[in-house]
Amino acid sequence: MTQSVVVQVGQCGNQIGCCFWDLALREHAAVNQKGIYDEAISSFFRNVDTRVVGDGGNISKGKICSLKARAVLIDMEEGVVNEILQGPLRDVFDSKQLITDISGSGNNWAVGHKVFGRLYQEQILEKLRKSAEHCDCLQCFFIIHSMGGGTGSGLGTFLLKVLEDEFPEVYRFVTSVYPSGEDDVITSPYNSILAMKELNEHADCVLPIDNQSLFDIISKIDLMVNSGKLGTTIKPKSLVTSSAGALKKQHQKPFDAMNNIVANLLLNLTSSARFEGSLNMDLNEISMNLVPFPQLHYLVSSLTPLYTLADVNIPTRRLDQMFSDAFSKDHQLIRADPKHSLYLACALMVRGNVQVSDLRRNIERLKPSLQFISWNQEGWKTSLCSVPPVGHSHSLLALANNTCVKPTFMELRERFMRLYKKKAHLHHYLQIEGMEESCFMEAVSSLSALIEEYNQLDATRSMPVEDLPRLSVAV
């Protein structure tokens, strides 16, 4: 069994990370009734005897003493991390795994990347090496950050290069929160484009998310629950969004519901690697199957179901509904339109009591309405995990490598150009040592190249499928 380390950078990253750890603990508590430290838990947690001072306290088997998250928390201002350390999750984090500063990055990518990157490079390396040493077999780094700010965006992407150099064999999965149209940070287009260049070059796989979609999902759930239309079949508190029964009992903070969705995404992504099932899918298989060309590693994710049904024995119709929902725009974590764009590959990760015949039937049913690229018509990757998520009897996570991310990127480029043409706010960046106008131009051209690749694939849609000649062999 392999281990993964979560690196949470910036305010957004740390807040999402906090929800993630909370949910992970709940999930393992629900599955692991006997309190034995097994391989599934070891993928994200260490078992430590806290009575031992220093590093010798690692216990690899037997009863759970004290679980420590395999995480590194980085933020350039102290507010968020302090709150985590004073909250109910304080015992889960090792105080030696934090890197904080006081002043913050001022929503400036250059400060995050160049200034703090240089300042904290050694410390970051040391913490990462430490966490890697605690792992038997480290497979993946999960980086959580936002693209619009300064720390998450700048320092977060600086990290990617460090990870690539130091741990070339370990996968880098990045969960990036993209700024929505009405973002309150004016310089977010600059930060995002500069960060995109790093993501293009150093990430193995990126799961883009935007706040607007998350917000829409929350509103939809609230509507469903409050309208009472579905009667007694829906439980009032959706466990996807609420932390009901969790450690935090105080009133929920505004972003909590949205962050819980992202936390669910990460847990479902790794479920088949942690738990048993009849068709397992490891993290390296995600990268192998969904990334046909190294540059095109942006995956659109959608999660179902979003609300908990009171009925445990789900009839087939409901199950099929789950599959249809996964391909509807309401359940996506980023605003895009995959149904009208070209699919390069698609992965379906199912959890719970779902069998292969249900999977096959639904793929057959949904295939005609989806456009797959000509050379990957059967481009489905499937996995079945027997352990359902907390509070649901089954769930589905769909990851699609689809050209529908192109409009999102183009819009981002638009916003960037509007600011850049007027050189607005540029001086904040250029006064940082190491930043020049060429950095901006390089970043834009990197993004344009990416958009061009998607364009070329889209163009093949209208071309007739040519029958490739078979090799002729002398018999």
């Binding site: 069994m1 392999t2 391989e39 038997d136 077999c137 497979q139 738990f275 048993e276 009849s278 068709l279 397992n280 490891d282 390296n284 298989e285 990268s287 192998m288 199957n289 969904l290 990334v291 046909p292 060309f293 190294p294 590959a345 069998q355 292969v356 015949s357 249900d358 096959r360 793929i363 057959e364 295939k367 000509s374 050379w375 990957n376 018509q377 059967e378 481009g379 489905w380 990757k381 499937t382 079945l384 029958d467 490739l468 078979r470 090799l471 002729s472 062999v473 018999v475």
Partner: protein, 397 residues
């Protein structure tokens, strides 16, 4: 004579468990139509072939379990131990921490050489426990990374080290609508390598077995364990002891040898298919009767019309090749027939797989994942060429 089974990857291990379970339950089934003495002889023969004895009488399967990540092997071992009737040897499994990631190149070029010695040692141990080795039965899938890549590597190694023993590879052809995106690449590479080093390739398609489960066995929600049980049933009937010409109470001693002798006359034509009847759910068993003649007639019809099931036979047929010996057991019937139907399968699916592959390859899609581990484009080209040759030779028949 004994057969050593090598189970590779998730698919191989899951199927392998069901096969041993089926073999054991069949041989110890309380109802039987033969006399007691016949049953005892049969049991002894079956046992010797697949299980070795342990101190407290619990039979141990003659199997080596290999997987690159621990979950499936742990599950398989505990399921076997839980049944209480038979189990796997404690030291017959080999397992690593991180899987092959559906990457044939990783399985073949990285895991293969790295773990060659340990795995071959395990196999050596199993072989030494046998009085007389008939050959190897290797169970693997073609779509994944471990089963396909590592499987190809191991088969090659067995060819080098045990060149006098026969090897039969049981390969699982993935669903046509895709279970793994790079399954076409993995399948092509596997087939081409196996063709050079294996003695016979027994092919099962997930699609076909799925249909059998759906139509004939009336299972509403088909799970992989249902599919595997059907497969185990079919495989069991291939390997279970059959009467030899000397009359009853004497079982054929060399299962693999006899099969190969009759079914693989020419090394160019190695692919085999199974037709097994009757296939039905336990409930309908009480309402059906069989006669030997009826079963044989059905079987011939299935062969001629190239169908895998008794129902839905499509009657557009071409003149077939002559049949080969039927090996029968008391109440089951299956025929292992080398004929044009497998050829058709290879040609048809080969066409789909090829065109999908050529399309992908033209754009070099996913190739970077394979070149990372040392499989270059020439290797792909070699594989294509070999398989085209196979398809061409079958076409010529």
């Amino acid at each position: 004579m004994s057969i050593v089974t090598v189970q590779l990857g998730q698919c191989g291990n899951q199927i392998g468990f069901e096969v041993f379970d089926a073999l054991y339950s069949d041989s110890h089934c309380p109802q039987g139509l033969c006399s007691k003495r016949e049953n005892e002889v049969y049991q002894a023969s079956c046992k010797e072939r697949f299980f070795s004895e342990e101190e407290n009488g619990v039979p141990i399967a003659r199997a080596v379990l290999v997987d690159m990540e621990p979950k499936v092997i742990n599950q398989t071992l505990s399921k076997a131990a839980q049944s209480g009737r038979w189990k796997y040897g404690q030291h017959s499994c080999f397992c690593q921490k991180q899987g092959s990631g559906n990457n044939w190149a990783y399985g073949y070029s990285v895991h293969g050489p790295r773990h060659e010695e340990s795995i071959m040692n395990l196999i050596q141990n199993e072989v030494e426990k046998c009085d007389c080795l008939s050959g190897f039965f290797i169970i693997m899938s073609m779509a994944g990374g471990t089963g396909s890549g590592l499987g190809a590597f191991i088969t090659q190694n067995l060819q080098d080290h045990y060149s006098n023993s026969l090897k039969m590879n049981q390969i699982i052809w993935p669903y046509g609508t895709g279970e793994v995106i790079v399954q076409n690449y993995n399948s092509i590479l596997t087939l081409s390598h196996l063709y050079r080093s294996s003695d016979a390739l027994l092919v099962h398609e997930n699609d076909a077995v799925h249909k059998i489960c759906a139509k004939l066995m009336n299972i509403k929600q088909i799970s992989f364990s249902d599919i595997n049980q059907v497969l185990a049933h079919q495989l069991g009937s291939v390997f279970q002891p059959t009467y030899s010409m000397e009359g009853s109470y004497h079982y054929r001693r060399n299962p693999l040898g006899e099969l190969m002798e009759n079914l693989v006359p020419h090394p160019e034509f190695k692919m085999l298919g199974i037709r097994n009847i009757p296939q039905m759910s336990e409930n309908s068993l009480a309402y059906s009767t069989f006669t030997w003649a009826g079963l044989l007639k059905h079987l011939r019809q299935m062969l001629i019309s190239n169908s895998k099931m008794e129902e839905g036979i499509d009657w557009q047929v071409r003149p077939p090749l002559s049949g080969l010996p039927t090996l029968g057991k008391v109440s089951l019937n299956r025929e292992l027939h080398f004929n044009t139907s497998i050829a058709n399968l290879v040609i048809l699916r080969g066409k789909d797989v090829h065109s999908a592959d050529l399309g992908k390859q033209k754009l070099r899609a996913y190739i970077h994942q394979y070149t990372k581990f040392g499989i270059e484009e020439e290797d792909f080209l070699d594989s294509f060429t070999l398989l085209e040759q196979v398809v061409a030779s079958y076409c010529n028949l």
